[in-house]
Amino acid sequence: MNPSASSRGPVDFDSLRELLARSRGREYWRSLEELAQTPQFRRQLENEFPPGILDAPNALNRRRLLQLMGASLGLAGLSACTRQPPEKIVPYVRAPEEFVPGRPLYYATGWAVSGVALGVLVESHMGRPTKVEGNPEHPGSLGATDAFAQASILSLYDPDRAKVVMRLGRISGWVNFLAAVEQERERLLARRGAGFWILTETVTSPTLAAQLGKLLAQFPEARWRQYEPVGNDSARQGAILAFGQPANTIYRFRDARVVLSLDADFLGCGPGSVRYARDFIAGRRPEGAETAMNRLYVVEPAPSVTGSMADHRLPATNAGIDRFARALAARLGIASPGADESLHGDFLAAVAGDLRANAGASVVVAGAEQPASVHALAHAMNQALGNTGKTVLHTDPLEAQPADQAASLRELAEEMAARRVDTLLILGGNPVYTAPADLQFRERLDSVRLRIHSSLYEEETSELCHWSLPEVHPYESWGDARAYDGAVTLMQPLVAPLYAGKSPLEIVAAFNGEPSKTDRDLVREYWQGQRPGGDFESFWNKSVHDGFIEGSALPAKSPPLNAGFAAGLPAPPQDDGIEVSIRPDPTIWDGRFANNGWLQELPKPVTKLTWDNPALVSPALAERLQLRTGDVITINLENRSVRAPVWILPGHADQAVTVHLGYGRTRGGHIAAGAGFNAYPLRTSTRPWSASGARIEKTGRRVSLACTQNHHSMEGRPLVRAATLEEFRKEPDFAQHMGHEPDPSHALFPVFQYEGYKWGMSIDLNACTGCSACVIACQAENNIPVVGRNEVIRGREMHWIRVDRYFSDDLDNPAIHTQPIPCMHCETAPCEVVCPVNATVHSGEGLNQMVYNRCVGTRYCANNCPYKVRRFNFYLYADWDTPSLKLLRNPDVTVRSRGVMEKCTYCVQRINAARIESEKEDRAIRDGDIVPACAQACPTQAIVFGDLNDPSSRVAGLSKDPRNYGILTELNTRPRTTYLARLRNPNPALEKG
């Protein structure tokens, strides 16, 4: 009530009292005026509503109605709007060249793992990189990529990246850091750098090496050391053993007719694997009946990608491989101590015979995890076979400063223990996590007065350092690195650093007293210095454009073999209990990709496991130790032990257990932390890759592991169709007789005639190595979400293309088959007829299309898909909230929401992009204009896409190949994704029965 009301007239209190006394029950009153029912009060009550409102309905006329309606409409419109935050829209005053909104641009840059660069082209939409493709001109890529490079784009946008400079766990800034560096410089200059140690990863970058050289010139007593947990120490030692000098070895698999891999996974991972896969498969493509194929022998402990491609595979422990190498060397006429030529009788004889018969056209390749002796023997064998200079080339090492990294790290650790390290600058790497157990790096680090760590994530090492600096992602910075053959790959930024990152070049420059120099200045200045005179601008522009410096590959050299080195080798190792074999993880590598959800969820090529790194054992060992898959065991080695779940892997060497590095992280992002177990404690600086004498104990606990394929046999169904080369020559169309296809003319309705395009895909199973680059390429291209470990356990992974892996034949040494399965885009698609709402329909070009907006999620289509390629969003899997991940999305592909089905579209967005281009130019789409993401990434070009109606297209040609077949054709699905049957080229001497 209005407080002034009381002033309107006197209140008769007596009558009020009387009124209240008379009233029955409880009377509620708001004010004395109300109680008194004074006339003023009544008036006021009536006046609560302003005049004209109460009687408005009576007075309503046309004008008034229109006024009111107009006003309501306007007000309704107002209330429906959220106030937009003010944004400044600034048009380009001068648009960048070739910058057309809606059209992506591609920039050449490089992606380096362990210092070895792969040339890539990065797709950029309006200044935001979204997808990585291979650089067709780069020698290491030839247009293809591996899974790591494909997933690198996710690391760029990883919301867990280190974002700010941290000092002692508190947010600081570059200004503070640079001030601290300045202070430190003065201190160090006075001491000539004594006690100043720099630890980097393997440096192949000429610019960074030059910067470090400059630093060491300023601080002569400073020390620069490199450490790479998955490095090539033993290859380096092997070269020194064989040639007396370090050398980089490159292989020409294209020219090899016989290849022997001593545990070298040259098709799956490691330097040059993308190029090697292309070259190796080029020597295996059957063309006509008179075809020739190379032959691959693999001796390895755990089946790898390369092992799955082998024509003959021999499971052996690391010690066994060493003995095998010596025995083989002896057979090839190289005297080696302890060679037992009776070892693996038939196999050894067959390999030796085959190598000798193909002298000069064979390759013996030793894996990075094999000891120096095996590498040296491989060099000697290649020399003895006359391969060196033909299929095996040697160059100077890729590293700017080749050194025994384990020894360097040991030296650093000892110096730290002796408290002689005053300042430690760790550029990249995560030594606290990755250092060999015997070095006690974590404990010793404590003695260093000033510790600085720069890295992409806040990791175990950052936690223990005074300064933790965010590093730039390679796609945010300038740089250079050498490819597998030494070609200098230039890296240019695709985007300004998302967070306050700095490149190692800039950090070193700051210590050099040049804190204002940018990475671009440094790289450019270095190369300008290398090219005095001449037209530097055009050289620079061309090199940046191409992504590498032409003619920078290291020249081949032929170092003389250290004759008689073999005789000096120590006696071969003997089996001593169970051997532990330590390997980099196929998808997480040394742990650097542990926070990359794509790689975590990528099924490992052979085990098909995700999110975990179990201890792999052979079925026979599991039987002896009574282990089941999922049992948690303790692996004891000397006085160290780790706990790991068991995974029984057919084809694993008996008496050995393989563990993979990279898991069991405690820091480094919310994806990295918590997955798997840490295998580094089993590793020592002297025995980094294998150690015998392990004891295995069961703990009695069990865990479930997230595997995407739990059944490993084809159950006698003709899914992967394979034959030997001999059988193929006799009956080239053998695959077509292994299944049944109903005659389309038996159908009730006439077959649909495609007038225009008729898309189809062909997948060559003879070329597919199972490397799974296609899976990540598809994930990146099509905005496919990561679902996490628990959802994978429940069978809800979302990959649109998967690589099925089957074992066949012998349990202890099975043949391993891989088969990529995208959508088959069936002509008579079973999914289409059962959708109640027309959400999946057939296009006039033969695509089986998925209309997300229309999908109501009955999942009937997925049930009825015999290939099980349909993926359902059981939850809201796509991350709709994290801002940085929004930048990652391909703008041409819908981000799906909860409750809808999705599946492979044959990259319909790329088809339509090509269509628009062709229509602009008034022509038909040419063969090769459309390359789906999977096909583009494939290192072996196993996937071919195109128009089946165009008789000159590659895919139409392949569809007439005698090896061409479809799977489950007996269901009359008439798939348009077809396969080319796999061929093996076994040695007749080894083929039993």
């Binding site: 159950e715 809800r796 992974e797 709402v837 229309r854 999908c855 909860r898």
Partner: protein, 460 residues
């Protein structure tokens, strides 16, 4: 009703009458209507209803959580896209079948023993269809768009896809629900009028009066009523066959091994009637005891229902044999593997439990002693209900979890939410049934009066 025929049908069966001797029109009316019109709600009813209500609240909670999170809360996954939701849907729909069968087909066949059980069988049908109808909507990824399965002119210019059995399902189930509801309500009208006339409370008078739609029981009313009821029965008859046939098409139309079988329609219909009668027995045996309705639901009823259960159970058993035979006869490795996997695979326990429930235990019904032992029969009816649920589990899950590509094989494990949703619908079903028992006559009064032996003259 034709009295000669009635007497004949009573006279033929001298084992047991369809109504105990000694009843006349008024005792029938009294006994049945008192259950509803009593002022005192029995304590047992309160307890029973409270439990059922609480359980149905679990359903509500589960649905809320489902809508919030998505179908991921269930155990379904990539090979097994359908799980409990579809199993429960088929199970509930099947249970509903007995009602229609009893109401329509037995009416047309003039099987008068149906009279005392048809009312609550119809009610049961209706409630079962209500429970069943929830599942196809809830199992969708985006249930709020369920209406897209209904053909209606829309701005999207898109119709449902008529080749999909799920669209047929929409028609089949909605028709079934509508006709069942109509049939039940029309059958209730004379009894609602009786209740209106006998009710003492004004509110009950009003409500029953509105529901009775002005029924006065005039000859003309009766004449039209009988015609309408017969016509509705004629309408409902094909539904007995059609609904479960269409439901079976959800499976049979697909190419999944274990689903793609021509035996499915008859085998599903038989299974539905089987499950339905099992449920009628499961409900009527305790009701009969609790409300002292032994005079109306006599041993003759019990015996007949047990016989029907045995007959349909044998058809179902035959269906299992034919499935296995056809899988072998197809010669397709996936089909053959499907049967082998059922017998020996990871879900073999479910399969063998199903055989035990649905095939082996019901063989005891050959014995009249078992058929007349109500307690034993009650247990068997429950076992059959479980067996039929297991059958749907076997069909849905074991077929999907291992189909064509061994690489994609997987397992299905139901989650807490699968169970809570399923049990919640049982709660809903029971709660509705309790309300029905309390507020509507569970046995058709007027139809019972027609089978009262006519010693005396009609009282009206």
């Amino acid at each position: 009703m034709d009295s000669d025929q009635r007497q004949e049908s009573v006279g033929v069966d001298d084992i047991a009458p369809v109504i105990a001797p000694g009843h006349d029109y008024s005792t029938v009316t009294d006994q049945i209507s008192t259950i509803v019109l009593t002022r005192r709600t029995p304590r047992q009813w309160l307890i029973g209803f409270s439990i059922a209500f609480v359980v149905s609240m679990a359903l509500l909670y589960s649905i809320a959580y489902l809508l919030l999170k998505g179908t991921g809360i269930w155990g379904i996954n990539n090979p097994v896209g359908w799980g409990f939701a579809i199993i429960n849907f088929v199970w509930w729909i099947g249970i509903g079948h007995a009602g229609t069968l009893i109401s329509a087909i037995l009416l047309l066949l003039r099987q008068q023993w149906r009279t005392s059980i048809n009312r609550f069988a119809e009610a049961m049908t209706l409630f079962a269809v209500a429970c069943a109808g929830l599942f196809p909507i809830l199992h969708m990824g985006r249930p709020w768009l369920a209406y897209w399965l209904v053909p209606y002119p829309n701005t999207m210019d898109t119709w449902p896809q008529p080749r999909s059995p799920l669209v047929w399902d929409v028609f089949a189930v909605t028709t079934y629900g509508t006709v069942s509801a109509l049939f039940w309500f029309v059958g209730l009208i004379p009894d609602l009028a009786t209740l209106r006339d006998r009710a003492t409370s004004l509110l009950a008078k009003k409500i029953y009066g509105i529901l009775a739609m002005g029924w006065r029981g005039s000859a003309r009313h009766w004449y039209r009523y009988e015609t309408a009821y017969l016509l509705l029965a004629g309408l409902a008859t094909p539904l007995v066959v059609s609904v479960h046939t269409v439901v079976s098409f959800d499976f049979a139309i697909s190419i999944v091994p274990g689903w793609h079988a021509t035996i499915f329609p008859p085998y599903f219909v038989a299974g539905a009637i089987y499950a339905g009668f099992a449920m009628v027995l499961t409900l009527s045996i305790p009701l009969r005891a609790f409300y002292n309705l032994g005079d109306f639901i006599t041993m003759r009823h019990i015996d007949n229902m047990a016989k029907i259960m045995l007959a349909t159970g044998l058809i179902v058993g035959y269906g299992y044999i034919v499935e296995a035979f056809m899988a072998w006869y197809s010669g397709h490795p996936a089909e053959i593997y499907m049967i082998a996997n059922r017998l020996q695979g990871p879900y073999r326990y479910v399969f063998w439990a199903l055989i035990l429930c649905n095939v082996i235990l019901i063989q005891t019904l050959w014995s009249a002693r078992v058929r007349r032992n109500v307690i034993l029969l009650w247990f068997i009816s429950i076992v059959v209900g479980i067996g039929m649920w297991l059958e749907r589990f076997v069909i849905v899950v074991t077929s999907l979890h291992r189909d064509y590509l061994p690489s994609s094989w997987g397992m299905y494990y139901p989650t807490f939410w699968d169970w809570s949703t399923y049990i919640g619908t049982i709660g809903l079903f029971c709660a509705l049934l309790f309300l029905f028992l309390r507020f509507l006559p569970m046995i058709s009064i007027f139809e019972m009066r027609t089978i009262v032996p006519q010693d005396g003259a009609p009282k009206h």
